[in-house]
Amino acid sequence: MNSPTKTKQNKLIIAKEMLGNLVDRRVLTALEVCVRCGICTESCHYYQSNPKIEHTPYYRAELVRRLYRRFFDPVGRVFPQWFGAGETTEDLLSKLAETAFSSCTLCQRCTLACPFGVETAEIMRITRSVATATGNAPDILVELANAAIAKEENAELFRDIYLDQIKDLEKEVQDILGSSKARIPVGEKGARMLYVPLAGAHTIVPQAVLFNIAQESWTLGMFEASNYAVFLADGVKAKHIAERITKEAEQVKAKEIIIAECGHAYTTMRWDVPKWRGSPLPFKVRSIIEVLDEYVREGRLHLDSAQNSQPTTYHDSCNLGRKGGIFEEPRRVIRAAASDYREMTPNRLHSYCCGGGSGLVAVEEWADIRLQAGKLKAEQIRQTGAKIVVTSCDNCRHQIKELSERHDLGIEVTSVSELAVKSLA
């Protein structure tokens, strides 16, 4: 058995090795280019909601930068103090882990604020990897990632239960549409689209209603789109979890994978999975938002904005917007579905994170941290005067609902799909 001292030493060795291996060109550049000018300070929602040095993007990155220089920089190895580097201890690793997981949602707003474009989120991402490898990641995220893998390994065990649940949901869809012909197909070969939901009927029923109206050739996925290993920056597990979906798409011979309203699941499948595979996916990947936008523009879905006359605003998910380029698609659908649409300021590229991203909503002990970090978003919502907040990410939805309770916003939080169903002409 390892002694505690040896375990600590091993952790430091692992941290050093991982850091050395994970620093690619983008991360190396992000580590080296920062001059600590402080211009990015107010770009962070953490700092805006609670102004202290620990909430500045450059502080977070600097912790890692100094560690990196102590380990790998020729001058830093000999004179660590020259770069402000201190002793490398297990406490430092814990502090880094906490910073990367609880004080940064990897929203990348600071990158656009920086005169150089320092990608602090990339630095925090590899810090999460190191934390995960050294056992410093939040247990709940590790458990959720492991559960997703176990679910695939034991798919046959839950298949019948899942199909029964879907049958019940199908009845709901039929009731809404007043048609017994409406279906929620599962694992149907030859369907053009594989729709990948999240855990929750709100990501299945409204979408099924809309697919049926649009007469889409689709089938529902067996596995949920969320990928908690992405939050852990555990590349091996994240790839494994994502492959559940790509395998299913191959089995049903789908032409497209459609991801539910979920920020990280979309970014992962659309942009990251091809990199992990080393080749493009053999099918198109889109968000359900892009599909709904297409239906509205093509006249396959007729929405009546008069059905929703309450002031409505949209919160840009960082993953879909700033990291995914999906800005206008949800807005076009919402404008077709709601008569009093209002923008938050700032929005789109410069939208503030709600504070719930990158796995924070899953970690109960950090609820206060994320709700405080979301104070700015709550204020933005209040300023619009909106009564309905639409967001196309389940983490954002969860966070904004809690923000509403804490800040007494009196709003309803909904998804683009749900809003569209409410406005069916």
Partner: protein
């Protein structure tokens, strides 16, 4: 003669260091976007190096306009200072109006660079995070521009300018001054990634 040798030695270290850094960067893995693009990587890079740096495109620049403007102006002056260093062996042939103008420009640059000490020391957060490397780099660049101003005004200061330039250039690969090289990489990566994803483009709807 000795100081000219110092400048040349510094330049040689700068070039060798720059090449070494570039090789080190290239040796690191790089994962380009493989997925079908939603936008244009080329347009993203172009945007990152042009409009993406415009003060009006950045809320942070509007908020910290003094620091941002200072940064832009003194970096331009440093670039001019580099050109001046290359041309300085022929300083006697410079028209006097040009020399006076350069002296004024470099003096402004030195003052702006020196102001960096004040900005670092007066802001508690920046003071806490500033390292000896930060202050040393500021001192070197301030001296580089101050000696450039002095030598443009009085040719007798040219040996001092060369000596300081040599030391400054020699230090570049070893400390924060090397950010000048990484800057180009960072903006390019930013443009490539966000351009591919349709995030950075000339005009959003």
């Amino acid at each position: 003669m000795v100081t000219a040798g110092l400048a040349l030695a510094g330049a040689a270290i700068l070039v060798a260091g720059t090449v070494t850094i570039m090789v080190a960067i290239q040796r690191r893995p790089y994962q380009a976007e493989i997925a079908p693009t939603k936008g244009s990587p080329g347009q993203g890079v172009l945007y990152a190096f042009t409009l993406g740096m415009a003060p009006w495109a950045k809320e942070s620049a509007r908020r910290h306009w003094v620091a941002y403007l200072r940064g832009i102006v003194f970096h331009i002056i440093i670039f001019v200072g580099g050109l001046f260093l290359i041309a300085s062996p022929w300083l006697t042939e410079f028209p006097s109006l040009l020399r006076v103008s350069l002296a004024a420009l470099f003096a402004l640059g030195a003052a702006l660079t020196f102001a960096g000490f004040g900005m670092r020391l007066s802001d508690p957060a920046l003071r806490r995070l500033s390292t000896p490397d930060d202050y040393f780099a500021l001192a070197l660049v301030t001296l580089f521009l101050a000696s450039g101003a002095a030598s443009a005004a009085q040719i007798e200061f040219l040996p001092a300018f060369w000596a300081i330039s040599g030391i400054t250039m020699a230090y570049v690969p070893f400390g924060k001054l090397r950010h000048f090289l990484y800057f180009f990489y960072e903006r390019a990566f930013l443009g490539l990634v966000f351009g591919s994803r349709g995030v950075l483009k000339w005009k959003h709807e």
